[in-house]
């Protein structure tokens, strides 16, 4: 369970998050939507402790991670897997080394066991046999998949996705959506997906959090969001610019 309470964050004079509150239950899958530059990535990074808020609390299974230092956070972060917007693959390593990274850090396994787990996870993200490739050789969609494989191989309880479909063509986006649903259902993880792709939010999210003007503007099911008559929500859902 993740709970965010009265979270405030600014960078210099720029306020990014203001009194953000929400709660995500275990096993839920939540889409965080909002305009580009609206602070979605910043919010996601607070949930896993990559950024420190100016004030407020982030509770992960009841523990306030805001009060922790980097070393204490390492333990909490084992519960999380994170897929970055640009995949953030380690470009000095092969695909297999990337995927195995967390496994080597979390568990003591033999090389054979690691290779088997890497192959199984690459299979799950539909990239069998790519172990020896370098990240530079991969397409955008493949990089995202490797990033996902790296995040789920050690079986975290919560997976965070930062714009998993942004910058991909509709067909690849669709396959990533299906992959997120597969991971959610097979591994029984809590998913938190940051996106500005409404179609993706609707398919993957059981709940939607809408970030608008630094605050949580809406917290409801995708159906309620699409049916809403609120002008701000409608504008986002229909994708129209200000006149």
């Amino acid at each position: 369970m993740i709970e965010v309470r009265h979270l405030n964050k600014s960078f210099g004079a720029q306020r990014v998050l203001e009194d953000v509150n929400f709660r995500i239950e275990h096993g839920d899958s939540v889409a965080i939507i909002g305009r580009s530059g609206g602070g979605k990535s910043v919010l996601l990074k607070h949930i896993i402790g990559l950024l420190q808020p100016d004030s407020g609390a982030v509770l992960v299974d009841g523990e306030n991670i805001v009060a922790m230092n980097e070393r204490q956070l390492l333990r909490v972060r084992r519960k999380f897997g994170m897929v970055f917007q640009g995949a953030a693959l380690f470009d000095s390593m092969t695909v297999a080394e990337n995927v195995a990274f967390g496994l080597r850090r979390h568990e003591h396994l033999t090389e054979g066991e690691i290779a088997r787990r890497v192959a199984a996870t690459l299979d799950m993200v539909d990239l069998p046999g790519t172990e020896k490739k370098n990240p530079a050789e991969l397409s955008g969609g493949m990089r995202k998949r490797v990033g996902l494989a790296r995040a789920i191989i050690y079986e975290p309880q919560i997976v965070l996705y930062d714009e998993p479909t942004t910058g991909l063509d509709p067909i690849v986006s669709d396959s990533i959506d299906k992959l997120m649903i597969r991971v959610r259902d097979q591994l029984k993880v809590t998913s938190i997906v940051v996106t500005h792709d409404m179609r993706s939010a609707r398919r993957v999210g059981k709940h939607v959090l809408m970030l608008h003007e630094r605050k949580i503007y809406a917290n409801c099911t995708p159906e309620a969001l699409f049916a809403s008559s609120d002008p701000v929500v409608r504008q986002f859902v229909d994708g129209v610019a200000d006149p």
């Binding site: 990074k45 390492l74 953030a88 790296r150």
Partner: protein
């Protein structure tokens, strides 16, 4: 201290504070063995083996020019055979460690800052952190240990090559009497000169690795961020090395006198 905020003094002090915190974190990590030996070995290879050519060429030509210049001056007062002694003492306690460190700062310090800076800009550092890995354990400590191991070795190499090259120039090109030159060299060079050089090179290894890592980790996100981090790593570590060299010379020479080395 708020009146300093935003001024260059304030910025400089803040940077100094952050690099001190980084050093403390790194030392704590070394003492608790939170690093991988394989990574250290790879860094020793990268910092040590791959710096061979620069260090050998620098050492050789410094020894040669030093021999020539010393000879031209000493020849006027008929002290030709003291040439190698001067070369050896300065190669061991000053030029060997400083020039090696400056060359390695240019090659390795820049590479460290660029590599870590790129990792930061592309969120690879954040990815490390989400994979429950402390960037200091994984990135800083192996480089720090490797630099502390590699620099003394490279320095010894530079000293030896420098002295050998100066012998060659002195004896074969300038015609100094080899027996006396050799004897004088051994008479005036002491173990303490080599020891001073070694202590200095360990310190400079630390400076290069820490400043390179610090500049990479604090690299600003943007197109010119990595470039700036790289340049600053080289400039700051070179200046720090030159400044430290003066104080280390004063301190270590005093210590040698006190302990009668």
């Amino acid at each position: 201290m708020n009146f300093l905020a935003g001024t260059w003094v304030g910025v400089w002090l803040a940077g100094l504070g952050r690099i001190t915190l980084l050093s403390r974190e790194a030392i704590a990590s070394v003492l608790t063995f939170k690093f991988s030996r394989r990574d250290v070995l790879y860094q020793v290879y990268f910092i040590g083996i791959k710096s061979q050519s620069v260090v050998i060429v620098t050492g050789a030509f410094t020894g040669m020019v030093l021999a020539a210049q010393t000879y031209f001056q000493f020849h006027k007062v008929k002290m030709d055979t003291a040439t190698l002694a001067v070369v050896s003492v300065s190669m061991c306690s000053e030029l060997g460690p400083v020039l090696t460190a400056l060359m390695v700062a240019g090659r390795v310090g820049a590479a460290i800052a660029a590599e870590i800076g790129t990792m930061r800009v592309t969120e690879q550092i954040d990815a490390l952190r989400t994979l429950a890995t402390h960037p200091v354990d994984y990135l800083v400590v192996p480089r720090l240990i490797a630099a502390n191991i590699a620099l003394p070795l490279l320095t010894v190499e530079s000293m030896s090559v420098g002295i050998a090259a100066s012998y060659f120039v002195g004896v074969y090109l300038l015609g100094i009497e080899p027996t006396y030159a050799w004897w004088n060299m051994l008479k005036y060079s002491h173990d303490s000169d080599v020891m001073i050089g070694m202590v200095k090179s360990v310190v400079y290894g630390g400076i290069i690795a820490l400043i390179g890592c610090y500049k990479g980790l604090s690299c600003s996100v943007g197109a010119e961020g990595v470039g700036r981090a790289t340049t600053e790593a080289v400039v700051y570590s070179s200046i720090t090395i030159l400044i430290c060299n003066f104080f280390l010379t004063m301190l270590l020479e005093q210590l040698c006198v006190i302990f009668g080395l």
